[in-house]
């Protein structure tokens, strides 16, 4: 108030008296107020959406990778213990093994049971139990080992699935064996209702006879879930894990 009084004095000195020096920026009109609140709401919405992008593409990866690393350590520890105490039953509770796909970059992807969001959101790949049950390679039976993982966020384990080409190896590591698969067919875009890609004999990949197949599914294009991206591989050979867990030659170069 003192400041306004000073100003009024100065202006009155210079020229004719100012009738009512209304305090500035105190009471904007109703419409001005409504417009400014509306503008602030819009800005808030924009910031909120921006934060959601940060959350989905960065934060979920941080969380999921942390969780997946912990789970992976647990599985490896478990394996080491079992090795000492003789063969044990396959424990599907913590994950059954690791996928190594050199074309998608270094690193391993833990494989756990199920493809529900709470499984996949931990930064792992899940093998299908529904709608078509996956045939695990450890059973030795003919069938399709079908797995899914996130393309973006939550670890984004299959983010670079489009880097896979025909002939590229996909290696599945279990406690006792390396299962070496070779990619033979790719379906870059299909409907999300196309469950036939998971069939024991995936006909869309061009196969007619029973065999040991692997199917990777994820969403495409990146950042959306409009379609599914499917990669098929066929088992080439099975290698026993040695004492040093020396990886097969596909993973060495």
């Amino acid at each position: 108030m003192a400041a306004t009084a000073d100003e009024t004095e100065e202006t009155t000195d210079a020229s004719e008296p100012v009738p009512d020096p209304a305090p500035r920026r105190r009471r904007p009109g109703r419409i001005a107020l409504a417009v400014s609140v509306f503008g602030e709401l819009l800005i808030t919405a924009g910031v909120l959406l921006g934060l959601f992008v940060v959350y989905s593409l960065w934060w979920t990866n941080v969380i999921a990778d942390r969780k997946a690393d912990r789970e992976a350590d647990k599985v490896r520890e478990h394996w080491a213990q079992q090795q000492e105490s003789g063969p044990g039953a396959l424990d599907t509770q913590d994950g059954i093994g690791f996928l190594h796909v050199p074309a998608m970059g270094d690193g391993e992807v833990l494989v756990e049971k199920g493809t529900d969001a709470d499984v996949l959101n931990d930064g792992v790949a899940g093998y299908y139990t529904d709608p078509v049950k996956a045939t695990l390679p450890t059973t030795g039976k003919n069938g399709n080992f079908s797995v899914a993982a996130h393309r973006d966020g939550h670890g984004a384990k299959f983010h670079r699935i489009d880097k896979l080409e025909k002939g590229d190896p996909i290696v599945f590591e279990t406690r006792d064996d390396w299962y070496v698969y070779k990619v033979y067919s790719i379906l870059p875009e299909t409907s999300k209702y196309n469950v036939k890609v998971l069939s024991p004999i995936p006909r869309e990949s061009g196969k007619k006879k029973p065999g040991h197949y692997i199917t990777l599914t994820t969403c495409t294009p990146v950042y959306t879930s409009r379609y599914r991206y499917v990669v098929w591989g066929e088992l080439v050979r099975v290698e026993k894990v040695d004492a040093d867990r020396t990886p097969p030659k596909e993973l060495r170069d």
């Binding site: 400014s36 709401l41 989905s56 899914a148 939550h154 299909t190 998971l198």
Partner: protein, 53 residues
């Protein structure tokens, strides 16, 4: 709205700025911890399986 909050924060400009920062961090925490995880499954960005109704 934000002007109203600013005017009702106690202290001088520095204290106000500090309190604002804490408030913003609190809001971001609540969003990342509770709101976004809840909202995410409702949005069609992250379905990766086939036959995911």
């Amino acid at each position: 709205m934000y002007g109203w909050i600013w005017r009702h924060l106690p202290g001088n400009a520095w204290v106000k700025a500090l309190i604002s920062l804490v408030l913003i961090l609190a809001v971001v925490y609540v969003l990342f911890q509770y709101v976004f995880p809840w909202a995410e499954p409702l949005l069609p960005f992250n379905d990766v399986t086939v036959d995911n109704q």
